[in-house]
């Protein structure tokens, strides 16, 4: 009974995400494409959920839907209006697009079919993996992830500082003619 329901759910989510992913690349309205993208991300979060990775599913929605898609929509809103449509792609662009997508598909299918995935037996999976993830992230032993975690934090920090530097207003000082950075953003 459980098995059947899970199978039905899995295939519907999978079909849903494939269809929406196709819609993302074929839609000519860029904001609709963003909404379809949100659908793809939500259904992949649902797939994570079915694998028992609740935390990953939550973070997927938090980061991708709440962060990336919102920023995407925000950026599109600054540039376009409702009536504008994307140009129809030229033949060369279409061909190269199909070629790139097809070869990526071939490579990923080949890699996936060659990899052996260790399957967890029923019951081997911990009930709540949030605490386990937290411990792994703070573990500096051979199995821990504290170094990548800190490196990513540094990367994000530098990206934030870079963003501030770019967004800062610069003014030309009258006395020296040097470009000096205003400390206060008015």
């Amino acid at each position: 009974m459980n098995e059947a329901i899970l199978t039905v759910l899995f295939y519907s989510f999978a079909a849903f995400s494939v269809l929406l992913a196709l819609a993302v690349v074929t839609s000519r309205r860029i904001l609709r494409a963003a909404v379809y993208l949100m659908g793809v991300l939500v259904s992949s979060a649902a797939l994570f959920l079915m694998l028992g990775a609740e935390f990953l599913a939550g973070v997927q929605i938090l980061v991708y839907v709440g962060g990336i898609v919102v920023l995407l929509v925000f950026a599109v809103m600054l540039t376009r209006s409702v009536e504008l449509l994307e140009d129809r792609p030229s033949m060369i662009r279409k061909l190269t697009g199909f070629l790139a997508a097809g070869s990526f598909f071939a490579v990923s299918v080949a890699v996936l079919s060659m990899t052996q995935f260790p399957v967890l037996r029923d019951g081997a999976r911990p009930d709540s993996n949030v605490a386990a993830i937290g411990r792994k992230l703070l573990d500096y032993g051979p199995e821990g992830y504290v170094l990548p975690f800190e490196v990513i934090s540094l990367l994000l920090l530098s990206a934030v500082i870079g963003g501030i530097v770019i967004a800062r207003k610069t003014a030309v000082s009258r006395a020296t003619g040097d470009v000096e950075i205003m400390t206060e953003i008015q």
Binding site: R32, G66, G67, V69, V73, M77, S81, V82
Partner: protein, 361 residues
Amino acid sequence: MNTWEVTTLAERSAEALSSSFWGAAGYLGLAMLGMAGFVAVLGMVLIYAERKVAGHFQCRLGPMRVGWHGTLQTVADTVKLLLKEDIVPYQADKMLHILAPLLMFIGTILVLLVLPFSPIVQVADVNIGVVYITAVSGFSVLGILLGGWSSNNKWSLIGAMRAGAQIISYEVSATLALLVVVLFSGSLQLSEIVRSQAEGWWIWRAHGVGIVAFLIFFIASTAEINRTPFDMPEGESELTAGFHTEYSGLRFAFFFLAEFINMFLVAALTSTLFLGGWMPFHIGGFENFNALMDLIPAGLWFTGKTAFLVFVLMWFRWSFPRLRVDQLMRLEWKILLPIGLVNLFVAAVVVLYGLYFFPVR
């Protein structure tokens, strides 16, 4: 001493699934029906309360004509709203125009799903509760942005942009304040967070850290749901009605209802995280006093705290003037965020050394 067993509808449904599929489906249907009824009635009650509170703050009576003390006024208004013509502006992106209010409403309903009303009234108790809430509230932002953009109207667009910028900014502070509670209780699960407050609520157990986190969370959440004094996204004196200028009839009702339910959600979440949720007022060690407090049912504690915070939100509305956009951004990035960061750090120290009152671990 009470053990506070938590039973959720999802658990019961999972139990029923082992015997029959239809039992589980019945539970889920019941949950959906219950939610729909709850949302509709809550929306009407909140709108009535808002109008009455507003009236009395301004030395008026508020609605008085329809029903006893105007109690049927919102029912009449709702019926009127449902019968209105539904207009989609010419050259609007019709699909997104229709989708946007639904997205906003979905964001609201999904948060309602994990809210612990009482130990026995909760739909699902997911173990990533806090992450889940922050995650699904992203749908509301998208709803507002898409609604404003797809209307093909300048007021809507500006309102949506303001709303987006405001919500994204204030989400940072709200999350920082949330993390303080996660640190204190050591769990992301909402029922676990409530149960960790059995010896006392987090707002007063941690030497001021809890109070600061409470204030930051409450202010930032008020901004996130676009309520006065943070209601620039729909500032009617400058933007007609902001992102929902072009909405009418049922779809406007969705936006309107989501806004009021969001107000309830902010109050309910704040009371769950900082004021103990359904946990009665306890002082660690005072067994007799605690037993006396346990006589009041848990659901009533939750309702009382939430109703009080809803009243405070309405009180805000009639006490503070609207902020300007630059003041709003300065408040977030230069005042709330630094305080929130320092507060989180202090909270970590407090938790590390077990400095809070009545440590349990």
